[in-house]
Symmetry: C2
Subunit: 503 residues, 2 copies
Amino acid sequence: MSADALRPANLEEPRAVSARERDALIRELLGVVPSQGVLHDDEDLRPYECDGLSAYRRKPMLVVLPETIEQVQQVLRLCQAHQVPVVARGAGTGLSGGAFPLANGVLLGLAKFNRILAIDPDNRCARVQPGVRNLAISEAAAAHGLYYAPDPSSQIACSIGGNVAENAGGVHCLKYGLTVHNILELKVVTIDGELITLGGQSLDSPGYDLLALMTGSEGMLGVIVEITVKLLPRPERAQVLLAAFDNVERAGEAVAAIIGSGIIPAGLEMMDNNSIRAAEDFVHAGYPVEAEAILLCELDGTNAEVSEDIMQVRELLIAQGATEVRTAGDDQERLRFWAGRKAAFPAVGRLSPDYYCMDGTIPRKNLGQVLRRIGEMSDEFGLRVANVFHAGDGNLHPLILYDADTPGQLERTEDFGGRILELCVEYGGTITGEHGVGIEKLNQMCTQFTPDALTQFHAVKAAFDPRGLLNPGKAVPTLHRCAEFGAMHVHHGQLPHPDIPRF
Amino acid sequence: MSADALRPANLEEPRAVSARERDALIRELLGVVPSQGVLHDDEDLRPYECDGLSAYRRKPMLVVLPETIEQVQQVLRLCQAHQVPVVARGAGTGLSGGAFPLANGVLLGLAKFNRILAIDPDNRCARVQPGVRNLAISEAAAAHGLYYAPDPSSQIACSIGGNVAENAGGVHCLKYGLTVHNILELKVVTIDGELITLGGQSLDSPGYDLLALMTGSEGMLGVIVEITVKLLPRPERAQVLLAAFDNVERAGEAVAAIIGSGIIPAGLEMMDNNSIRAAEDFVHAGYPVEAEAILLCELDGTNAEVSEDIMQVRELLIAQGATEVRTAGDDQERLRFWAGRKAAFPAVGRLSPDYYCMDGTIPRKNLGQVLRRIGEMSDEFGLRVANVFHAGDGNLHPLILYDADTPGQLERTEDFGGRILELCVEYGGTITGEHGVGIEKLNQMCTQFTPDALTQFHAVKAAFDPRGLLNPGKAVPTLHRCAEFGAMHVHHGQLPHPDIPRF
C-alpha cells in the first residue's frame, strides 16, 4: 500500500507547524509534564499512528501524556497559546477514527488517568478517571453486587473516557441505555484550560444539559478528566435463548415482534450465515451452521420474571417461524452461546485479509428489508458482507470483507460502506449507532443533516472552542465539504423510495 | 398587595418598546397570523399575566397565537427584526416562572398546536404538537396498550411542549426517567426562523446531542414545534404499599434501603405529618394521621415480578422500623392511596392562604438529615412547611405556608425557599428536580455553578440566540447578578459543614 493510501481522504490537515515552533512547544510542555510524558521521537510516536479504524495510519507531531488534571489544563493552555490543535485519546479502540492523529497536532493521551477514585454503593455510582478500562469498573463494583451496564465489544480494552466521547453502546444498551444514560457527572477541561463540572449526582441538573452535549461530542468540545458513572445491581438471573431461522427477513420480523410484545430483553443480537459459520469455525459455540440467521435473546431480572419472559419469547419465536429454539441449559452453555457472538469480529477477520465494520441504525421494523438491500449491494460491489449486530436496537454492523493489497478494494469498500449508511438514512435511521462519526462518516453527515442543522452544530462547537483547536476535522463536516460531496440530504417527505413506510 | 410586589425581584426587563414600535409590530404580525391570534387589548392579555408561579403577575406587551410552523417561523423573524424578546408558553402550568411574560416582550402561545399527528405502535412512539396535554398522549395510545411515562402532577393540564422545555418529571420518573429520557425527536424553530430537527427515531443520533441540550433549556434556545415521544407498554400489574413511620429520618433511611436493595419501584413517595393530615382531611384516603411520615411505594411489571417485589419491599420496610405496612387490597384501594398523594398540594393549600412550592434534589442517603434541617429552619423563619415529595429520586418538594396579605411574609418565604435550595447544594444536590429554574431560582444558580460553568452556559446560549431575544432573564443568571447576590458557590472540598458525608 502506498504511503498516500494510508491517509483517509476525509481528513483535512490544519496549518503546518515549523520545526522551530514545534521545538518551542516541546520545551514548554517539558516544563509542565514529566519528561517521559512528552514523546517526539519517531519510534515513540509509532504506537499512536492509528486507532481502531486501522485502515489508515499517520504519526502525530507530538504525544503528551499528562498525569494530573492541572497538567491537562496547562497542556491545553500551551496548545491554545501556540494555536496547535489537540486530539484526545483514551485506549485508541474507537472504530470511526475519532482519535486519529493530526500530523500537525498534539495527541493528548489519557492513559495515565487510570484510577478508580471512589465507589459509592449507597448512591450506586463510581467516580473514575477517564483512562480506566470499561470492564475494570464492573470488576471493582462486583464486591458490592453492582456493575456498569454499557458493554461495548471492546470492553476489556476500551477506556471509559473514550466511551463518553463516543457515547458507546454494547449488547446491553437495549435495556440499559447508552453511555449518556449511565453517567451522572463529568469534569471537563476546556481549551482555555478551565476545569468545569457538568451534570451532578442528582436526578436532574439545572441549566443547559451540557453533560449530554459533551457525551458523544468526540473530543471536539473539551477534554474529559473525570467521570461519575451509575452502577446497577447485578440481576438475580440471566438466561439466553438461541433461535434459528431459514430466512433473514423472518428473523428481522421476529425482532420487531419481541420488542412489540412489551418485553425488553437485556440483549437481542442477530448473526447471518456468514457470521454464524465464521464464529462456529472459530470458537465452536454449537451454532446451527445451516441457518440463514440466528437470534440470541438474553433476558435478565428476578428468577420469576426471567422464567415468565423465557416462555413468552419462546412462543413468539416459534410463532414467527423459527426453525429451532434452544434455551441455554446452564450458565456454561449461556456463556458458550455468547462466546460465538463476542468472537464474531475476529472470526470474520479469518475469512478475509481485511474487513471494514460499519455502524448504522434503522427502525427495527425495516430490518428485513434493509438486510436484503445490503445483500443486493454486496453483489453489485462484488464484496462479501457478514452481518452481526444489535438487532433489538436496529443497530446494524455490516462487516465488509476486502483485501487492502488488491488495488482499489479499499476505495470500493469505502464507497460500499457509505452507500450502506445512506440506505440507513433513507429508511429513517442514522449513520451511527454507537461508534461515532470520527473521520469515517463525515460525508454521510451531509446526508443525515440539513445545512441549517450543521450550521447550528458549528455554532455550538464555537461556543466551546472558537478557534477550532479541539480535534479539528472530525465528526461535523463543513458546509463546504458537504457542497463538494453533493447535496445529499434526504428530506423528510422527499424519500426517494415511495415504498418505504413513513411515520 | 401593592402592584410593585407583583413583580419578582429577580426579573430584569429588557429595553422599553415605544407605542409606535409596538403598533408597527402588531400590523406586521397581523400579516402573518390570523387576526384572532394577535392579542393586544388589556382584557385579552390578562389570562397571560402569570404562569404556575402565581405569586407574581405582569401583563405581556402582546400575545401571539400562531397555528402553523410557518407562522411560528415568521413571528420569530419579525421579533428578531424588531429586536423584541419572545417568551414561549405552553399550558402555563410551570412552577418556576419559565413562561412569566415580559412587559416589553411578545408572549408566543402554542395552545393551537394541539394535535396528535401520528401514533406508531410498531416503533412505540407518537408524533405530537407541543400544545397537546401530557395525559392526552397516554389516552390516545391506550388503544395500543401503550402510554407515555413521565407524569407531572399537572398532567391533566400541562402541555408536552412545556414538559420538554422544563424537562418535567413526575412520580414515575424514578423508574422511567425524566422527559429527556422519553423523547426521540424535536422540531425546533430558531430565533432566525429556521426549522431544525434534533435527534431522530433511532437509538442514537450522530453529531452533538442537541436534543438533550434543548430539553430543559426553558425556552432560551429555540421554540419547540413538534415532538416525537417514546411510548411504553402498560405494565401487566401495578400494586402499592403504604408504610407508616413514627420518625421522618427513619422513613428517609427506608427509602435508601429500598433503592439500595436493587428494586426500582415505579414510584416511591413520601409525605410528612402536615401533608398526611391535610390530605386525609381533604380526600379521606385512609392515611394513618398519627404517623410522622408515610411512604407510598408502587411496584409494576409482570404479575410474578410484582408479587416477588411486594414481599421483598414489605420485609425491608418492617426491618427499617415501619410501624405499619399496608398493601392495597384492590385497584380501588390503590387509587385511593394515590388520591391522597395527588391531592396533597391543594389539600395543603387549605391549611394556609398561600403556599410556595420548592423543588430541590439531594442524594437519597441524606434525606433524613435534610428534612431535619428544614424543620429547624421552619422554626427559625416562623413559617410552617409541609413535605410531600418524590423520595426515591431524592427530589424534595417542601411547601412553605404563608399569607401574602401579611406584610413581609412573601419576602420571608422567598428567603426561606432560597435557603432550602442552598441546603440541597450543600448536601451535594441540586436546586431543581423537575420544575426548572425560571425566574424563581436564578440566584441559587450562582450557588450551584462556578463562574466558569455559567460562562459556558452563556456561550451556548449565544450559539443559538446571540442577541438574547428568547426568554431573556430566565434560567441562567448573569455573572453580574451572581456578584451582587454574593459569591455563594459551594466548591467541592469546601463544604461548610464538615459532618456532611463526602463522596
